[in-house]
Each structure stands twice: as C-alpha cells, then as structure tokens.
C-alpha cells in the first residue's frame, strides 16, 4: 500500500481571456504516491504545466482543493505557499535560472540557506549531491556561464534537492539539452528516484516518459487515462511497447 503524498479534489484552473473564461484544468481528482516517478503527458495546451504549477503551489487553483499530508495547501496565502515550496518541493525547469554572479556552489547554498541556517551541514549535503551527479570540486567553484548545458541542469537538480524535498517537480527538464546531455539528466533523476525521491515530471518526450513508473495522460484539462509501467529498467523493450500502446490509445 503506497503512502499518499499529495491529493487533489476537483482541481480546476480557469483563466480569463478577453472576457471569456478558459477552463484549463477541469475537475482533476488525483493522488500522488511517495516514491513514485509520475510522468504527466499530453498534447500542447492540454494543461500539463498548469497542473504541475498548481500541484507544486506555484499557482493557486480556481476551484477544488490540494492536500499535502493533512494540510490543504490550496487555502494558503502567497507567503504560506512560499514556505511550503521551500520546505517540501524542489523544482527543475527547462530553463535552469542559475544566478550568473554567483559560483555554482553558492547558487546551491543560496537555495539551502532559505530553509537551513547550518552552513556546515548544507555544505556537506551539497558536496554529497554534487558527487552523486558527477560535478567535480573544480566545477563547483566555476560560474554558471563557464559550465555546459548538461552540467548546468545537473546543478539545477542539486539545487532542487538541497532542502531534501518530499517531491521533485520537473517541467521538461531535457527540453533545452542535446541527446547525450539529456540522457545524463534523465539518468540522474532515475538514480535519485531509485533512492526513494518522489518525482513528478511533465514532458512530451517519449524517451523521458519511459523513465516514469506511472504515466498520466492529460487531454483538454482532464486526465484521460493512466498507465502503470512498473520500475524502470534499462533496455526493457516490453516497457517501451506498453507505453507506445497506451499513448496510441490516448490519441497521442
């Protein structure tokens, strides 16, 4: 029996455009489980990113509730949401948003110091994480403009994990990377997930989606279907075929 990490009840999000209300998310009832690698797929405009932002507390729903543990986060104000995000969520975006004027290590520590004031403990955790993503001590001292795109995204993952979040949210994390560096980033995320890190990733890339154990397909703001792929294993052909069949059924 899996532990429920996050739960939504009739989650809906609407935007007003030229006097017309656009309902981007409609009545989404969803449970995210601890340790899962959940992948949200769907065509452009299906509401994937909007769902991710609502789940992670970066945006508030128009209707419905989001519950994290026993706290209803959809009722928090902006300050409350900021504290929630810092303590419980990590974010990896397509654009990495590292601060150019700070070294790689300082970028990571700056995020950590928002929650933890013990700089020594933070340094130790940052070094462990950097070692896990294969970023050397030399690279840690460099500035963001001096490292490659793949390295920058791995630094982004370290920054997202520095506060030991319950959920790591990733929005198209390999979207801006080439094939090889994208694969490195996916391997990194898979490794952290194998160690127990819960991951929620939005993607429209089959290669990325294959890494998840649970695939949700979003269409017109609603979850049209979901597929249980089981734990990822490299070179599992059947897994690929199962995902292809599911996406075909969904009209991908």
């Amino acid at each position: 029996m899996k532990n429920i990490l996050l739960k939504t009840d009739h989650l809906s999000k609407s935007f007003s455009s030229g006097g017309t209300l656009q309902h981007v998310l409609k009545n989404i009832d969803l449970e995210l489980y601890q340790g899962d690698y959940t992948v949200i797929m769907g065509a452009s405009g299906a509401g994937k990113s909007t769902l991710l932002y609502a789940l992670s507390g970066m945006d508030t729903p128009s209707l419905g509730t989001i519950t994290f543990g026993d706290r209803v986060i959809s009722e928090l104000d902006q300050d409350g949401l900021a504290v929630f995000r810092r303590r419980h969520c990590g974010f990896v975006f397509q654009q990495i948003y590292l601060i150019d004027g700070m070294s790689v290590m300082d970028n990571v520590l700056a995020a950590g110091l928002l929650v933890n004031k013990d700089k020594r403990a933070l340094l130790a955790r940052a070094r462990d994480l950097f070692a896990a993503v294969d970023i050397s001590g030399e690279t840690q001292k460099k500035f963001p403009t001096q490292i490659s795109g793949g390295e920058a995204q791995r630094v982004g993952i370290v920054r997202a994990l520095i506060n030991d979040p319950e959920i790591l949210f990733a929005d198209e994390p390999t979207g801006a990377l080439n094939s090889k560096t994208g694969l490195d980033v996916l391997d990194t995320l898979t490794r952290f997930n194998e160690q127990g890190q819960s991951v929620v990733m939005v993607t429209h890339d089959m290669r990325s989606a294959r890494r998840g154990n649970r695939i949700l397909y979003l269409k017109d703001g609603s979850i049209l279907g979901e597929c249980d792929l089981g734990r990822y294993e490299h070179g599992d052909r059947a897994r690929h075929e199962k995902l292809s069949a599911f996406l075909g059924e969904m009209g991908w």
């Binding site: 809906s12 209300l21 309902h23 409609k26 703001g221």
Partner: protein, 422 residues
Amino acid sequence: MRRRTVWILLACIAAVEILSFFFMLTGKTDGSQDTVLVNKALQSVQRDWAAIESHEDQTGLDYVVLDLEGTVLFKTRPGLRESLNEAVMYRDTILDIQADGTVVGKLILYNDSVQAFRAWKQGIMLILAAAVCVQYAVCAGYLVYVDRIVIKPFHRLEGFAERVAGGDLDVPLEMDRQNLFGPFTESFDIMRSELKRARQAEARANGEKKELVAKLSHDIRTPVASIKAVAEVGAALTDNERVREDHMRIIRKADQIDALITDLFTATLEELQQLPVTPQDIESGEIGDLLRNADYLQRAKIPPVPACILYADRLRLQQVFDNIFNNSYKYADTEIEVMVYREEGCLAVSIEDYGGGVSEGEVPFLKEKFRRGGQAEHVEGAGLGLYISDHFMREMKGGLDVRNGAHGLRVTVLIGQSGKGF
C-alpha cells in the same frame, strides 16, 4: 425631486468642507498677552525680590521666577515650564528682573497660545471629518438607491429577455412600480403572455393535427391490413406463379404504405431535435444563480453548490429548472427543498416539494410526451415540460430523474462534470 435634494445636500456639505479648510489654512488664534498685567506682574516681582518666597500674585497670570542660575524661586502653580530652554521652545514671554539697576533673575510668563491653536485646529478637523463621513454616507445611500431602482431591475429585464429569446415563456416578470422600468416591465410581461398564448394556440392546433393524423393512420392501417391479409391468403392458395408474384407485390406495397404511415405519425416527435443545445464548460457557482432565477416566488432555500466545472448549456439548464419550479408551483404550491451534491461524475440538483407526490403508477410516464398526471386535469399545461427537460439534459450528457420523495415529487437534475465522462 429626490435627486435634487441629494445634490443640494452634497453641495452644502462640500461648502462646509471648503470653509473649514479655508479657516484651517488662514485662521490664527490671538496669542498676545495683556501688557498692563505683564508689567504689573514684573513690577510686583521686582518689588518683592528681597523676600520673593512671600510674594503673592495679584495679576491672575501664570508665571515662574528664576534666579540667574535657573533656580525656581517662585511659581504661580505647578505644571509650568521652569527652564529658559523650554520657555523659548514654547514661545513663553521671558523678562529680566532688575534690582538696583542690575539683572538678578528671569520672569517666565506662560503662553498657552500654541495649545489654543491646536485645540482650534482639532475642532476644524472634527468638522471636516464629520462632513466627509456624511458625504460618504449620502453617496453610498444614493448608490444603493440607484442599484435598487436601475441596475437590479435592468439585470432582471436582461435575464427575462434571454429566457423569452430561448423560448421559455412560463416565468412571469414581476412588476415593480418603484423602479424606473416599472411601465416597461408591464409591457414586457404582456408581450410574454401574448407570445405564450400564441404558442399554446399553436400547440393546440398541432395537437389537433396530430390527433387527425393518428386517427387517419388508424383508419388507413385497417383496410391496408385487410388488403395484405387477403393478398397473403391469395398467394398461399394459388398455383399460378404469375398470380403469386402479383399477390407478393401487393403485400410489399401494403408493407410500404404501413411504413409510410408510421413515418408520418412519428415525424412530429422529431420536432424536438430542432431545439439546439450547446453545452460548454461552466463553473458550478452559476447553478445557484440559475436556481434563484427559476424560484421567482422564493419558495426554496438555495444551498451552497460544491465547486467543480460542469458541462452544460446555461440557457437550456435555466429552462429545465424553470419547468421544475413551475410544475411545483402549479401542482403542489408548497415550500420547496433543494439539495445540491456531487455524485459519481456529476452534480446532482434535487428539487422536492411537499405536495405528497403522484401515484406510483404515474411515475414511469411523467417524462413522456403529452403525459399529464392526475393532479393536472384542471391546471393549464401541455404535458411537455418534463419531456423537454429530459431531452435537454440528455443532450447535455446529463440526466433527469423523477420519483416520489419523502414529502412530494422529487426531480433530480444530473449535470455532467467536465472531464469525468459521466
């Protein structure tokens, strides 16, 4: 008349405010002291200087006597400023005390003009604040008045026009002579009742036509059935192949005529398909407004509606609720209980009156076309309301459930939730 009074009142208040402001900017209080009394006080202090402890004030002024070191030698009352610095700061009058031609001390005469000015200014501010408050109250009252007599009636008219345009002619427009649209309201409602009368006449004519068609179809079907039966017997008895083929042709043509009569009879049932239903995503909060609009006699207490996104056509849904409430007004004429709750994939709106319901035998037929319950004999109606409502709800991928409840007839409208595949 009322408008002019409001404007005059606002102008008076504005004048008070301007005058108060003007006085506040230009006004000054008289801070000067009586020179004769000051002189007298100084002279009496100088006279008593040798025995200043036993000095007694004869002027009524407040003052303090200091020696050159700043020590207080005498004061008319406690609470006066006792240092030269403080005295200078508050603009007190300071005079030298001389004895035998030399300065021996200082006389500080208390000056209360600053406090007087402050008190005067506070008074003006109070008047200004009171005037602003009154002005605000008048404006707010006027806005409420405008909302009551113009804006709300206008919105009611707007909703009424939408319903009439959508073919819903059952809900009357309540006339209120207090608002600006009173006379128009009456005209609009006359127009609605005339339209309704015309439509009923049309429905009656259609009904009569249908009866004729039904009668004719029955009259035609009987001889056609006889022809077919005779042809079947003829075909069975003859040995001649050509004659059998002729009989078979007669049978086929008889079947064709029978099918045509059936088509003719059922054609009128297809008319309903011409009413367009265009569902879209709406927020469930709108259901409360639709229910309140339908319950124009305010017999029901509308509960909060659970938040979700629904797939419905506002106009047709309004007609459905209008039909249900109107039926309840006509046949039960009691209080109405409304419950709104989420069910699997849909939002259920249950509307029940206290009229005791209908006989169980009638329940399965209530949604049928031209069916009217036992209670409906003496009440105006065509027997189409629940039939049309059911049709509308099915077009919205929802449903309509009619059954006897605990107190009366309970109609439950099931509205599909978007993305739930109800």
